[in-house]
Amino acid sequence: MLALTLRGLATHKRRLASTVIAILLGVAFMAGSMVFTDTMRATLSGVYTDAEQGTDALVRGPSTIEGFAGTLHQPVPEAVADEVALVSGVERVAPRVEGYAQVVGPDGKAVDDISMGAAPAGMAWTDAAELNPFELTTGRGPRAADEVVVDKSLADEADLAPGDPTTVLTAAGPAEVTVVGVARFGSADNRAGNRTVLFTLDTAQRLLGRDGQVDSIAVQAAPGVSQAEVASAIRSRLGTGAEGLDVVTGAALDAENAGRGNEDADFFAVFMKIFAGVALLVGAFIINNTFVILVAQRTRELALLRAIGASAKQVRRSVAVEALVIGGLASGLGLLAGVGVAQGIQALWRSAGVTLPEGPLVIKASSLGIAFALGVGVTLLSALLPARRAAKVAPVAVMRSVAVERTRPSKVRVGLGVLLAVVSAGTLVTGFVGGELPLVLIGTLAGFVGTAVLSPVLARPVVRVISAPLPRIAGMRGRLARENALRNPRRTAATASALMIGVALVGGITVFAASGKWSVSHSFDKEFRGDLVADTGAWIYGGASPRMAEDLDALPEVAAAVPTQMTEAEVGDSVTQLGGWPAATVGRAFDIGVSSGSLDGLGRDGIALGSRWADGHDLALGDTLPVVFPGGARQTFTVRALFDHPDWTGPVWVDRSAFAAAQPGQLDTRVYLTGADGVGATALRSAVEGVTTAYASVEVQDRDEVRQSVVDEFNAMLGVVYALLALAIVIALVGIGNTIALSVVERTRELGLLRAVGMSRAHLRGMVRWEAALIAVYGTVLGLLIGLGIGRALVYAIKASGIETAETVVPVGQLALIVALAGASGVVAAVLPARRAARLDVLDAVSST
């Protein structure tokens, strides 16, 4: 039996080629994304562990808040470093300082786009090699106040070498410096994606806002002293309880960094796994469909086996073995391809502007094993039902010549499908609104399965409608293609289902993106009262000196310059973004719609909240709210104003004066400008740019340009998503080609007859291609309908989570384009089968048994 199965496999290699491709692609994607995330994890944590080898202990200030990028600590008075140096068991100390510092490139623009997640930093250089995570590759360390060392990625990007002058933007303003050395962070070109420039300790303290302070003290233990010993010696010397200082061993530090690396990688991990899951799901549909067809075709062969004495179990096992062999072979190939996929994914993210740490690919046996097991498992599962059907073939079927077709769709099917659709809609919305990812996934899965279940019922009427104009357009070919697509709705539906999934996701994202772009632009148009925006591109970290806003305000062409600051802070019981706005003039930049209270009395201890945010956190006018700032300052604020349009100011902000008091040295992220009466747009712009050119990271934008940059950001993300979804669509198209090919084989006699009565080869090819196009369009239409639902759910969720002006926008043009592309792709998928159909020898076909 086994030999028979294997021989059969070998004979029908071509039939199985497309099944193998489908599995291969799915597994390759899964393996590739796992390798990618493993690499990211290892690189991120490894980067730190590697560089911090010589650090035996670290002394730092008490923790303030759990920021988005990790726990933040208060700075430490620099005198503490001297004290620690005197502790017995301590060989050497190196004070560390860290703060915003951005190098200006040769083109006058700041290097690195801060807004994509990287944090350009300045640090203090130490000559104690053990405690210096940076290693020189060329040049020397800085000795004078205007000397710096840059990391290798900066040197490459900005084309800097020892001896070159450059400008560095810092909190204290731009600094003219000379590069004296280039260094690596351990063995990486930069510190986990964050570009770093290193000053002398004194300069760093001055420029990075740490006068008389340091951020932490790295400690090297004396020979023979363990990390634990030196740490406890320091603790007893400093008396940590009283001062709140935090002393950790090098090992504990490594664990912390590793944990942080994992968190960073987690976002990617989830993202990629979803897409890999999609690819595998689509693959599963294809495999199932293929096996259904294969079993149907071999009915007579299987019946013969049963007639001569094979048991049902043996037949079932034979199909299972076939699935196993195919799955194993394809998955193995998929693993090999997966390595290439991993590299492709890296390139994809980089092209979208995300900064990824550099390093070699990390290929873990466990990840590969999981991908392999999934590939084989999915294949087996998909072949399970067809295998069962194969076993049930009655021996008497040997004598019959035509396969029986089911007629009415069962009530069970309709009921189940509708039920799943309802469940799906419910869980999707609940999941999105509550931010519960598992619910969202379940909802989506239920939606797809439900539609797949309903699809055969829908196939006939929908295909009939879509294909109505076909006979008129394409004559006999169209007529026959239409009838072929209609005659086996189950198969048409099954084939189209795979495409449906990919298209649904593409459609959903397209609707969401269109809605997003429109909503954001619309909201900006409605609420922005100014003319220009001076944007540093910074978010929480970095920006421009407040002096820039003062200079802008002083311009005669400018009627109002409204600067804003941003940080992350613990507000009440959660960490959130906290803004700083000048309460007196914020209304000149944005119409925020104060609904109760007033901004006039905001003062040093007042806080303004978006009304929805306040409701969500059970806060009302007059309530008090404790806030912990990242620098360590604590203050209780009173809610003095509630407003309705928080989209551009953020839902939580305090007056600028309060912000400056709590976070001295904080920089402005943006300045919103209104022109004075009678000043033309060009005049305003040149006046503003005259001030901002000195601040190399600042870009001046008018309304249209702001809108465009919003659109661009959406499009960048879209690009990545589309590229990932493209894989699923490719797999689906392979499936369509597969099904058409198999159905051509089934209809050999019929095709031969058509050729005998005078259908030309070209006509026959056309007929097959139209059929493929029909199936593809059907799958697309269905997919878009679901996609609309998904898009809508996404928009609804966004609205519920606080972005008020979210509206669903259906980009009809784009969706119509998707349908057209799908039809065309279906045709492409069927090119080979169509050609094979036309090449059938008429005689062979007509007289085949």
């Binding site: 006699r749 007859l753 009565v757 030309s760």
Partner: protein
Amino acid sequence: MTTTALPEPRSSARGQTHAAVRTVDVVKTYGTGDSAVHALRSVSVDFAAGEFTAVMGPSGSGKSTLMHVAAGLDTVTGGQVLVGDTDVTGLNDKALTRLRRDRIGFVFQQFNLVPTLSAAENIELPMRLAGRRPDQEWLDRIIDVVGLRDRLSHRPAELSGGQQQRVAVARALAGRPEVVFADEPTGNLDSRSGAEVLSFLRRSVDETQQTIVMVTHDPVAAGHADRVVFLADGQVVGDMTAPTAERVLDHMKNLEG
């Protein structure tokens, strides 16, 4: 009761001298060397226009092969095939397709019809493929002759075997082709349906001068023809005019014995 091999066109009993289809020294060989199969060994036959000719022989005699090459469904290894005045031997696929579409009709033993089309659509299929409008009067006549008026909108799955074959016959005749080739048209039918189909074929020859070439192994079927050509081992071994079922049966017995 003449049994001669005839390389020349000759007048049939009806006085027609024109040959609808001719094969001249046709040779058809499959394979090479030791495993070569000589399906046809220099066969020269004329199928007269307006006649009902049956081609008979035991299995392996080459009768089906002869029909296939005569109809342009298969190529020849040597010799010539002429349909009317056209030498089809060297035609390319496009020209052969047109030939089959416009000038030749087919009735196969089974699977004659496209299952997704109705009876009426199946009948009009070759003309639709050619982009020609059917002669409605002629069509109506044929449909009435084969008795399918009330079955026109039905799909093949809804028709009996006999009805399906009648549809196939109607399709073959609808285009008024120069010749209709029928390959064992009654092979899958019960005797009554078979007799019906044969009578339709007969009538089309009698009433409209249609040329029909039928391959069969059934002496009863051959009895409906005007002439029977006997094949054995790839060669013409006999020719009978005005056949009857008994005479044909006798002759067959002699051939095999």
